[in-house]
Every structure is written in structure tokens, then in C-alpha cells.
């Protein structure tokens, strides 16, 4: 059942998920996206440029987080606007990797345009990694 605008309330949680990420995941994302920046797979390079180690692509984190919204709305094509600021990197140590936690809450409703703004709280190791992470979805 697709969600209906009239049944939603601001502040309502619509989904949450924990997503694991390890080095093989980053290599896979590098290949799929074409972003081969070595800070996402080469420990030596990452530390030489002042990072704590290999970090996840911000775009991987952003892309993984919105899956909660796509699955909730039932149609990934209903996401008409999606934005974030990258607040903090997500270090991905080998071999343990990291866990990203996503909580999706209704941030605003607009009956005129038939849209709901879903605000995503995205954290790793207790710290917020994406800021102002918002997805606007069109509901029928």
C-alpha cells in the first residue's frame, strides 16, 4: 500500500535502517559511479592527505540513505527532490567497516502540491554525517 498524504503527520517516523559498509562496498560503488578518488580505497593516500583513513564516498552515503524513502513510498520515481550537506566523513576501517544509521521522519506536508518532505537523520558512530538531508516525495 502506497502512503496517502492525508494519513501522514509531521514528526511521524516512516522508516529506519542500519546499513553496513566495508571496503568491498566502496570499491563496488567506485566502479558503479565512476568516482575513483583514492581516498575511498587507498589507506596510504587517505592518510597522506590528512584523513583518519579510507572514508566512504559522501555520494554512497547519500545514495544508500534514500533507499528507506524509496521503499516506504513504493516508487523510487516519486522522489522529486533530494538534497544534503556532507557534515562529516564516514571512516571505513578494514576489516570491520562501519555502520550508517538512517531514520526517516515526515518534515512537512503540502496538500497543494501533493508532496511530503521526508527528513533523514543519518549517523555513523553516533555522529551526524549528513546535514539537512531532505527528500521531497510526490504522493498520489
Amino acid at each position: 500500500m502506497a502512503p496517502v498524504l492525508e494519513d501522514l503527520a509531521v514528526g511521524q517516523e516512516v522508516g529506519r535502517r542500519e546499513i553496513g559498509v566495508d571496503r568491498s562496498r566502496l570499491v563496488r560503488y567506485a566502479g558503479a559511479s565512476g568516482d575513483f578518488n583514492p581516498i575511498h580505497w587507498n589507506e596510504r593516500f587517505a592518510t597522506e592527505v590528512g584523513l583518519p583513513g579510507v572514508i566512504a564516498h559522501g555520494m554512497w552515503t547519500m545514495g544508500a540513505a534514500v533507499g528507506v524513502v524509496s521503499d516506504w513510498v513504493g516508487d523510487p520515481g516519486a522522489v522529486v527532490d533530494y538534497q544534503t550537506r556532507f557534515a562529516r566523513p564516514v571512516p571505513v576501517p578494514d576489516p570491520d567497516g562501519a555502520t550508517v544509521e538512517v531514520v526517516a521522519v515526515v518534515g512537512a506536508l503540502d496538500a497543494g502540491t501533493g508532496t511530503a518532505r521526508i527528513d533523514l537523520t543519518v549517523t555513523a558512530a553516533g555522529a551526524r554525517v549528513l546535514a539537512k538531508c531532505q527528500a521531497l516525495v510526490r504522493l498520489s
Partner: protein, 149 residues
């Protein structure tokens, strides 16, 4: 070297079309953990009214970054990619990207600003189908650390 402020306001001509393939969308969906069947199963996508499998919401970055390369790989722009951090990203979708699309992008450099040893470069990639139909706009800000930062 700081990013060249003269690039602000620049608009590039439409680039060569990006042809969206089913397997590329499936590969990207798998990489971001997008498990909705509309990304991988043609019948599931058609049941939602789309002509073919559709892209996850952030796939447009792959299309946009081809256009952004015109700026980033231009030595005159002064962007040292080893000193770049991604600051923000936004996707506006007029319709989902689907397999079979041939997408042309016009890149705009909206702003180049200096702030506390950082150069902030904001680009806007306007993506449309070959027939001119608007598809998506991808806005991205990169922060480039100066030599002393």
C-alpha cells in the same frame, strides 16, 4: 593555488549524450543497496508506468560528473582534486531517468567563492533528453582546500 574566480558564471555547451543502460542502472542500484525492483526488473518498472527500469534518485550524479569534468579537468580552473571535499549535493527530478535514455547535459558554474582558505565551487548540471525534455538538475558544491589549509 586558489580556484580561478573568472570561471564563475560560465556555461558550457551541451555535451555528448550519455546513454543509460539497464545493466549500468542495475549495477548502481546494487552498489547503493537500492533493492526496489523498479531498478532491476523491467516488468516491475512498467507496472509503475515507466518504459524501462528506472535509476535510483542519486544516479544522476554519474551523468552530471561527466559534464563537471569539463571544469574540474581544466588546468586553468585551478581545482586540485586531491584537495577537494564534497560540501553539498542536490537532485531535482522532473521525471526518473530510465534505461534507454540519451541524456545531454549543460554545465553551469554558478559560484566560485573564497572563505577562510577554502574555495567553494558550485556547479549546476542541467540534464535533458535529446529531444529537449527536462529530466533533472544536479547542483553540487565542492570545497577545495588552499595550500595552507
Amino acid at each position: 593555488m586558489a580556484v580561478n574566480p573568472e570561471f564563475a558564471g560560465r556555461e558550457y555547451p551541451p555535451n555528448e549524450a550519455y546513454e543509460v543502460g539497464r545493466e549500468k542502472l542495475r549495477e548502481f542500484a546494487e552498489a547503493v543497496g537500492a533493492t526496489h525492483p523498479a531498478h532491476t526488473d523491467v516488468d516491475a518498472a512498467r507496472a509503475l508506468g515507466y518504459p524501462d527500469v528506472i535509476a535510483p534518485p542519486t544516479f544522476a550524479v554519474v551523468v552530471a560528473q561527466r559534464a563537471e569534468a569539463q571544469l574540474i579537468e581544466d588546468p586553468a580552473a585551478g581545482i586540485d582534486f586531491s584537495r577537494v571535499v564534497h560540501a553539498d549535493e542536490r537532485f531535482i527530478h522532473h521525471r526518473p531517468i530510465h534505461a534507454g535514455d540519451r541524456l545531454v547535459t549543460v554545465l553551469h558554474v554558478d559560484a566560485v567563492t573564497e572563505r577562510a582558505g577554502l574555495s567553494m565551487v558550485t556547479t549546476r548540471a542541467v540534464i535533458h533528453a535529446e529531444d529537449g525534455e527536462p529530466v533533472a538538475t544536479v547542483t553540487s558544491t565542492l570545497a577545495v582546500r588552499g595550500e595552507d589549509a
